[in-house]
Symmetry: C5
Amino acid sequence: MLLNKTIPAKYILNKIKWEVLYVLIIGLLVNFLTAEYRNLIPEMPIAIPTFIGTAISVILSFKINQSYDRWWEARKIWGSIVNDSRSFVLQLQSFISHNKNDEIKELAYRHIAWCFSLGQSLRGNNALENLDRYISDKDLKAIESHNNKPLALLQLNTLQIADLREKGELELFSHIQINNTLVNFSNAMGMAERIKSTVFPKTYRLFLHFFIYIFVVTLSIALRNIDSFFEIPLLLVISSAFFLLEKSATHLQEPFNNKPTDTAVTTIATTIEINIKQLLGEDNVPEPLAPFSYYAM
Amino acid sequence: MLLNKTIPAKYILNKIKWEVLYVLIIGLLVNFLTAEYRNLIPEMPIAIPTFIGTAISVILSFKINQSYDRWWEARKIWGSIVNDSRSFVLQLQSFISHNKNDEIKELAYRHIAWCFSLGQSLRGNNALENLDRYISDKDLKAIESHNNKPLALLQLNTLQIADLREKGELELFSHIQINNTLVNFSNAMGMAERIKSTVFPKTYRLFLHFFIYIFVVTLSIALRNIDSFFEIPLLLVISSAFFLLEKSATHLQEPFNNKPTDTAVTTIATTIEINIKQLLGEDNVPEPLAPFSYYAM
Amino acid sequence: MLLNKTIPAKYILNKIKWEVLYVLIIGLLVNFLTAEYRNLIPEMPIAIPTFIGTAISVILSFKINQSYDRWWEARKIWGSIVNDSRSFVLQLQSFISHNKNDEIKELAYRHIAWCFSLGQSLRGNNALENLDRYISDKDLKAIESHNNKPLALLQLNTLQIADLREKGELELFSHIQINNTLVNFSNAMGMAERIKSTVFPKTYRLFLHFFIYIFVVTLSIALRNIDSFFEIPLLLVISSAFFLLEKSATHLQEPFNNKPTDTAVTTIATTIEINIKQLLGEDNVPEPLAPFSYYAM
Amino acid sequence: MLLNKTIPAKYILNKIKWEVLYVLIIGLLVNFLTAEYRNLIPEMPIAIPTFIGTAISVILSFKINQSYDRWWEARKIWGSIVNDSRSFVLQLQSFISHNKNDEIKELAYRHIAWCFSLGQSLRGNNALENLDRYISDKDLKAIESHNNKPLALLQLNTLQIADLREKGELELFSHIQINNTLVNFSNAMGMAERIKSTVFPKTYRLFLHFFIYIFVVTLSIALRNIDSFFEIPLLLVISSAFFLLEKSATHLQEPFNNKPTDTAVTTIATTIEINIKQLLGEDNVPEPLAPFSYYAM
Amino acid sequence: MLLNKTIPAKYILNKIKWEVLYVLIIGLLVNFLTAEYRNLIPEMPIAIPTFIGTAISVILSFKINQSYDRWWEARKIWGSIVNDSRSFVLQLQSFISHNKNDEIKELAYRHIAWCFSLGQSLRGNNALENLDRYISDKDLKAIESHNNKPLALLQLNTLQIADLREKGELELFSHIQINNTLVNFSNAMGMAERIKSTVFPKTYRLFLHFFIYIFVVTLSIALRNIDSFFEIPLLLVISSAFFLLEKSATHLQEPFNNKPTDTAVTTIATTIEINIKQLLGEDNVPEPLAPFSYYAM
């Protein structure tokens, strides 16, 4: 997540360096051609790039809105993980008898492991990294063979709770209640995976790029009467506007991509760890994750 | 679902070949007429196609947004099927005594069959194809006579679970809890069928096409002063922009149509199969479904 | 619901015949006046109709989107009725002992009656029509005196189920579970009635028409230099665009109006009848309702 | 709620009489100044009012959509009150033994009182008016001292139902079920109060008015070459368009304001009264509330 | 929350004073340069700033809508806290035996403390301020060491209710029911924290400012033929329009920021205090919080 701090110009320019280069080449080329073959190339009414500009802004506006929705949905999913994690611990403390505090701790720690594992798995990183801080070697071994590590962790917690019920440490209805919270975790996991695995309709991006280049060509013909000393920078500025918006939207669309614009899943998982440990009354509470210079992961 | 890979130009051009041809004919015809009967045909202020362009972009923007919503809703429905499928197995394991592992497996496999059957039925394919991998011949026979095969499968699971309850293998409240998950499956199935069977308001598409052709005619008259060598390509490019956007939206609108833009229901059903089998602790886990060159089904 | 078939031109032209006539009269009148009193009527910059066009497209875009939402919500409501109807029968079969199959059938048939009755009542038709196929004369008599027939049918089902509970044929919690499904029916009914009874803000439609006429007048003055032979058709085409969009939106807004654009409630009720009868294992299953030439009711 | 009937022109003109007057004065003043000091006041390119027109339509479109959402949400809230009221009575009849019919009637009538009281309280009217038709003097006295009368009524119903539970007339789980319906009433009440008490971001309205006036001034300068005989009406018509849209949106935003555009809460409460009395099998059913000439309250 | 009262001009101008100053400097500079080096600087077609204006309004419209959604969501969250707070007290009174009125009061007061503490914590103020009015010193001490004070308060209430259950003062299912309400509080808290901690995509704001300045530069070149006596104010007015909209949106985006545009959390918490105390039948009910001159906190 980008923070409310100064964002390095380099970060932004880096996003669109290739596009700007292409536009520069097109601008120079058109300039050269219109100068050489003035008679062959007709006047271009400024209305032509305007038309194309209309199509561009229709898609752009659509894309910006939908990508924001994806980004915000991803954040909401992780927000609901925070809420359900807190409720989960409070429910364990409410419904399981006090002499089972060790098991409560085991369940709560395994849940912390689930949060970190889910974040790493969504980002395509090693979903087992650092989990040994929270779960036993036996658990680690059990989940190793699974394709979907977080799901395996969830199963371990589900079965241990079912076991508590069987031993009579949990009333039937409390079991159901805690089970509902586990269903919420399963849903949140699936929703995040859905965002991760669903490619935004590819064709819109393609057409968008295509239209922007058509726009650049027609605009540069339409503006040929302006001194090229001014025309080229103008072209660059206007087309950058479109490209920057498109890139920003594209990055928001993919909130689990190991980029500064990602949903800050590691930071959130650390917050959950702090909350859970304080609810358990523990002292070994970690510091909130410090952000990077202009973003938090 | 189109993947983040290079999409063949042929695929895209194929979408609008007829429309481009019509525009070409219109362009040539207008060109010929305005050349022949110059005095009869008046100047067309460029503002006229602009007006029509406004109407076009209003509908286009509406259509793109709503079709994305349909497509995204279809994906969400299948995402919730993934989530509920995982919860379903975890609930069976939590609430049914261990000595009934055979029945749990039977229920889980029948559920896998339901996923594949629903996907095939939504796409208008044979809803019984390959189901013999997951369910018994008796089951196959039982559902044969039903119009709605997935619904029949769901009924089989519902009744078997009711039977477990009657035999006392399941407590009342656990029965209710699992029943709720089955209700979720029934809802997801109905929601996908709703998207499949509801035609997007036909008239908007009709008007959209009508307006684009009017736009093409008026624009080609307005541009008649430009050399036809340039005018015709311009016409084609601008009108293609509109047609491509319209087609893309139309394809997104129908996410269960056996097209590359479909929701990838077979891929998702395979993921569910993998998840369920690993939760059951089985070894015969299939590979994730390999995507086609530029799309996944 | 309009189907994906050729829609007769007559159907479409019929929608806007009066508006087109008015525009024709305005066009001729302005043409005549500007010809007669050229000196008195000043030049009209084309920017004036453009301004008004902006206001028109703001409202139009708003209206199209909101009317689609109403239409889609109506479809969703009936979709949820389909889902809950299936779940209802499955729940009856799960929770009521088998020796009560007659009562299950009576409840299920009365529910089919509810679906048809609700559809007819929403369309302002006789809510009792053909109900004798599904319910007894005693039931028919009982609901006769009620203002809201579907609500009376729902009460009959609710009380019969409460009666089953009292007789001990239903456990408390299963009763609650089925009751929740009945609450869903009550909610769906109320939501459909809300759409039926809530008039879309009248003033927007009024202003929209007013603005379109002002637009026509100013545009026809602005275009007076064009030959009237071309101007009048142009006026008609452009204003038809706006009127057609407005009409389409207006029809979508009222999805229970006995029009071809209605939500296809009779078709859906028939689907429910088929599903329920097959879930009950019956043979007298009706055919799916055949659509009309270009629409389904 | 405005009905589908002819709306008196007076009602509409009344909305914007002051704004039109200001625009008239501005138009005349600019006309006079540009005539007197022609040389001092420069040409105004028509593009300037166009820019401002863009800003205006961005906010206008935003405002129209959001105010519609508020209005529609208000209607939905009252729709859910209708649904829950019906379910409430059906639940009382399902779960409370028949020999308590008097208490069921008392609870149902107190609920009718709640509906009317909530409607009146939202509109800022006397929340106790006419309640003596439905509740006892003792009840009236009990709620008198409360700031929030409907909340006090809800508490009376909640406590009476808890009392029935304590007396054993209600099973625990049925109690919970009915309690959930009461929670729905509490939520609906709070949601309506939220809409009532939350002022739509004031600044947008301010800027909107400010921009419209700037627009009027610049447009009137830009059009000074047109005969003032035509210019002034043009100015009035175009600016009225913006003002009318703004006013309509503002009225929709405040659906509990004792205006014809209000959500028709009294009509809805009367419908609830009819439904509840017929479900109770009573004969003293009131007529549906007759609408006023062009609106229903 | 800004009220429906006159907003001081100073408040509004203060928002954009720096931006207006920059625009003034740019305007004067361009004016001076175009006067000095007229021949070097070419004509700027007015279409160039129009293009940029299009990009600006696409982002602006997006930003205004999304920031309103954030603001409205924040208000909805606090609205649901109001509703759940009322339901919480009614549930305590319904499900806990009357001889435990002291404990009910303790729970209800601690809940009032939670509301105030959450509001202060969201605004970055001292989350313990004034809490001694509602909770005991022991409680204050217990929550002191927690990072998240409101969460600690919620835990205290959850554990005390679990204690009541253990003592047999609460039936299992009533426990679950009240627990669900506590889960709602936990969710509302987490949702508000999510809005507080999620920075709106920074890049859009950056690009927006960048585009507005480019717009100002190009527009001032395009308008150079107008007397600078008129041009500069025009520039200022038009660019202020954009800046004011941007600032208003930015403020709405951050509804817990100790600003007049904040969600009025203290006012709402006071309303909750009044409601709860009257439901408890107490007399020491505070006055509703008086608003400030033009806003409520």
